[in-house]
């Protein structure tokens, strides 16, 4: 279960602080997969990063009672001067995962091959994203966090990503943000709408979608 208690988030802007989240309260119970709908710039990604702990709220608190992934495919935490394998080992160490098993899995799944031993700064965006996605599939999380897309990369890799994610989803929950209802319907059991810095949860996805469409029109 993840409890979000009165989250506020502001960023310093050129003309004063920008208020992104204005008092978000929610409970994400175990066993439910939840989608959050919102327009571009509504603060969806910010809320997601705060949920999984990548970013700290300005005010408020997040209580996490589950192992929560980073946003799938997020490669911003890699050190460019280190190789893919070295970055992988770092993640294994901080999560207490077996380095040998994870290395075997990621090397195979990401199709990076010998590039695993090249510095990440030499990688293309697609390669980084493949490494990040494979790494998040190698560690068993109770909650997987998705920001819009499951994985970037070519069609073949995306197909593979969708397939493995179906398997991982069996014992885990999903929290995703999106502006597209189709994906939310595919992965989630409930949904909410983020609008004006506040989150409203609905019992059904259709109900959330109706309110979302009303809010943006």
């Amino acid at each position: 279960m993840i409890e979000v208690i009165n989250i506020e988030k502001t960023y310093p802007g050129k003309q004063g602080r920008i208020h992104v989240l204005r008092g978000v309260n929610a409970i994400f119970p175990r066993g439910e997969s939840i989608g959050i709908l919102g327009q571009n710039g509504a603060g969806k990604s910010t809320l997601l990063r705060i949920l999984c702990g990548s970013e700290k709220p300005t005010f408020g608190e997040v209580r996490r009672h589950v192992a929560c992934s980073w946003p799938l495919g997020f490669s911003g935490s890699f050190a460019g001067s280190l190789t893919g394998a070295e970055n992988l080992r770092f993640v294994c160490r901080i999560y207490g995962a077996d380095i040998g098993e994870v290395t075997d899995f990621v090397t195979g799944f990401s199709e990076l091959g010998p590039s695993m031993h090249e510095p990440v700064k030499t990688y293309s965006t697609g390669m980084r994203s493949r490494l990040a996605f494979a790494l998040s599939m190698a560690i068993r999380f109770q909650v997987y966090v998705i920001d819009e897309a499951l994985a970037s990369g070519d069609v073949a890799f995306q197909r593979k990503a969708i397939k493995i994610f179906e398997e991982r989803r069996a014992g885990s929950d999903v929290i995703m943000v999106s502006h597209a209802i189709e994906m939310v319907k595919q992965y989630c059991t409930k949904a909410g709408v983020l609008n004006g810095g506040k989150l409203t949860m609905y019992d059904t996805i259709d109900e959330a979608n109706e309110n979302y469409l009303r809010a943006i029109s």
Binding site: Y11, E55, V66, A79, V102, R140
Partner: protein
Amino acid sequence: MSSDSAFPAAPAPAAPASPTLGNNVAVMWRVVFALMIRESRTRYGSSDLGYLWAIIDPLIQLLVFWIIFTVLQRVIPVPASMPVFLMTGIMPYFFWRSCVGRGASAATSNLQLLTYPQVKVLDVVIARVVLDAASFVIVTVIFVIGLRFFTGEPFTSWVRVPILLATGIMALFYFSFCSAVFSSSLTRIWPLWPQVFGYASRPLYFASGIFFTLQSLPTGFRALAAIIPMAHVLEWIRTGAIPGFISTSYNPSYVIWFGSILFVFGMVLEWFLRLIGHSDESG
């Protein structure tokens, strides 16, 4: 290209961070260990030249002052050889200065790491100081052996009272760690701090007693120099290290108290920054 159940199960379950103290300590140790390995790669790079620099830097300092002292025919205030006197000052001072600098950049140069919820700024500071301490010990041993080899300096020139030397070095580590914690917090509210310290460390370099001992100073100057905690640390280490040199001018509890206050101040500041949701990317 692959059959339906081609993927192996996720091999590694990630443990949820349950809020027990034992668990927190275990996670912290894992993170610090991982950071040390990562830091040693990024700091020295993959080339061996990076590691070599850790030796070349103090070697240049030693040679420069050795030559200056010899040319000026300065007499050192302790019954020891020139390199022993200089090294027991240069090495600890450089260690401390390096720790303050590494503390200052702990948060800003590791922003991407802090996106992992289990990585805290304090972990980065601990990893950096421990790595520096390991480097300090290794480089010192290399110098002791090297000077034995090149100038015939006997090993016994470096130890007078082993327990005093050991506690002096522990005090150096403690004080430097506390300084690094303080420095890391201060940089986050005052981004100019690293530059300010850069200027401040120059006069401190001369005032901390690399070239003199507190014991050898006239009383007035001694009281002034004794404000600087690092002057006490150097005097402590030299009293433990240099045969025939016994100083009563250093105060161990001054070092410990000064360090502890810096530590507490740094931690309170860190806690306060967390409370107000300070984000480091804003500078």
